[in-house]
Symmetry: C2
């Protein structure tokens, strides 16, 4: 087991009618900016619950229109509002994109060393941020309980992340009933995103970490078990609740304690989204089988363990178990109606070349063993056409 | 799944040579009281590592002699030292008893409403405490990452707990190598304590919480797998590391999210220790099979699940799986050389009657369904003679 440091201060308020606790979680004199996305919260009753809980005596501003893959350009408009109205608390109401956008707004509003894009492009240190709280409506990114945010830039087609202890949400309210109105596409994206978050921390070199491996398997097995019910029944409270808790636990830091993480799939997936606009979950379902095939010998031991412990495949040699693990994962995505090939989205070699070229310009080498060069990224993506 | 709130702010520093980070975790101007137990830290090198990390420029006092099942009487002596020297930081170096004692010292030193015993006896609210940090040397109680402490009183033979967000350690340093010198008895107690912490949050009514159940099973399976190696090999780093992380995860609050906990075994075990002085782990190994038999119909579904998922017992009816679960758990304790009967410690009916009488005086009803009356406690203990 590797050495590690773990700390996560986020307060989670989980369950039915939990939005009613919102007002008690906010400082009495807060000047609040509510941030949200395309407006679904105004149709499904979540916005009304938020406003009802806040009451009429608070100073509240609103900023809507944070898009999926939240744009730097959009966030900077909110930063202006924060400065103009001296906002002291940001309340993100929505999914991971709204949360990520809000985390960037929080950091950018306090950033005084130049263009806040530096936080993403050059990992400029974030020393301060407006406090953020969230009401989550889409289980997927884990952003509600971590210190990470991913932001896109429209004019350069970039998608970059940053990380800072300053952007842990102070609290996150998770009411599984808010997910009842999610379209199937977003639900599937959320399942795949959660599943791949776990895989990127689990299917890596074996460091003799039986507890962490089983904690990863716990989430994977639960997701596999729940998926048919999640996709067939919109108002099954317990399955929505379990999905929501799986998604939070998948990326709140505890799975990566003492193990090596990979994240090559996410890094390549971000570029696919940046260049083509396909959803984040869609990009991951395409990329991960390819990453595994190109790191097969480094990952075969864990792939075999995953085949046996998660998929109950037995009686094969390690190498065949590992191969079966890749196949069965791809089938899992197929079965839920997620495409797993670039061709399914009409993405061709031209895009692949642009992605490889970008990694080359950045000098980026990916993967747990720093073995995925831009040339290997190209090969991986070619294998997924 | 039940509604829940979860927050745990403790910073965990885990791994080889991690005590070297101690100085950087403490406020520069802290007036520190190092608390410890019977002095094993001065034999196994831990004390030296602590002093070396702190350097020569700090203001440091010491308080040794915190006993297993830390006594109120002992802790109050440390409270005097805290007041006399205006201690601003308590550094607990040792196992769960040293940590629990230190948490009580921290709260008692700031308690101004009378006798701090009220915190334990009448759950007087703790609004403030001296900050606590820890260097853990015994994986067992989970105290290093929770807000709980259990304190005994010599003159009345009581053992009571209290809970407050004020007593979360600011940080806990977990170096698995500090456990190499543990005597087998303490190691076994730690394994059993960890195992039973998980069971008291897992073997309860079924609320359709597949993720939490699997997270519990993850720790149980890992402990079962590790125990032979832990008991036969003193310096197997990875198994010590996994045990240490299991113990922390077993009682840091995340297993109880959304489920019902029981804690009858712990409550009865505390009284056994209070009256007879047997170790905490020893008391749990005796009591839990009895608690399960007397709550058999309430727990049979989860017991059967545990038999199958943790012990790989299959092909039986649910009721027989549940019975097998009780038997195999008792065998697990037996096999590691833990006694499971009161008679093994020459504890007789007189003690049982005193325990039942005490619960009666307190009006205490135990267990997940509030069904374990003082009379049932008596029956449970009689069944364990």
């Amino acid at each position: 087991m590797n050495n590690f440091t773990y700390q996560n201060p986020v307060k989670i308020i989980f369950g039915k009618d939990s939005i009613g606790q919102l007002d008690s979680l906010l400082p009495k004199d807060a000047v609040i900016l509510i941030t949200y996305g395309g407006g679904s919260i105004k149709k499904n009753g979540v916005y009304e619950q938020v406003i009802t809980s806040l009451g009429k005596k608070r100073t509240v501003f609103e900023f809507g229109g944070i898009e999926p893959n939240p744009l730097y350009e959009t966030c900077m408009k909110a930063v202006e509002i924060c400065k103009k109205h001296k906002i002291t608390f940001l309340l993100a109401v929505g999914g991971g994109s709204v949360l990520d956008g809000t985390k960037f707004i929080a950091a950018a509003a306090h950033y005084t060393d130049g263009d806040p894009w530096e936080i993403l492009a050059n990992k400029a240190v974030v020393n301060s941020a407006i406090p953020v709280g969230s009401v989550l409506t889409l289980p997927a990114t884990g952003s509600e309980m971590n210190s990470l945010a991913v932001i896109s830039r429209d004019n350069t087609k970039e998608k970059l992340h940053f990380c800072s202890p300053c952007i842990y949400p102070v609290f996150s309210i998770l009411d599984p009933e808010t997910t009842y109105s999610l379209p199937a596409r977003q639900l599937k994206n959320g399942i795949v995103d959660t599943f791949v978050h776990v895989l990127e921390q689990y299917i890596t070199m074996d460091l003799n970490t039986p507890l962490q491996d089983r904690q990863a398997e716990a989430i994977l097995k639960t997701l596999i078990e729940l998926t048919p019910r999640l996709l067939s029944s919109q108002k099954d409270y317990d399955s929505r609740a379990s999905l929501m808790w799986c998604a939070t636990q998948a990326l709140n830091g505890h799975l990566s304690c003492g193990v090596v993480s990979d994240w090559a799939t996410h890094m390549i997936g971000h570029e696919l989204t940046a260049f083509t606009g396909i959803d984040h979950g869609q990009s991951l379902a395409i990329v991960i089988p390819g990453v595994w095939k190109y790191q097969f010998w480094d990952k075969s031991k864990k792939l075999a363990k995953y085949a046996t412990n998660v998929w109950n495949i037995e009686g094969l040699m390690e190498i065949d178990l590992a191969k079966a693990a890749i196949d069965v994962t791809e089938e899992f995505f197929d079965d839920m109606g997620m495409f797993t090939r670039l061709g399914d989205y009409d993405i061709d070699v031209e895009i692949i070349d642009r992605i490889a070229e970008r990694f080359k310009q950045r000098g980026a080498i990916l993967g747990e063993n720093n073995a995925i060069t831009p040339e290997v990224v190209r090969e991986i993506l070619i294998s997924r056409l």
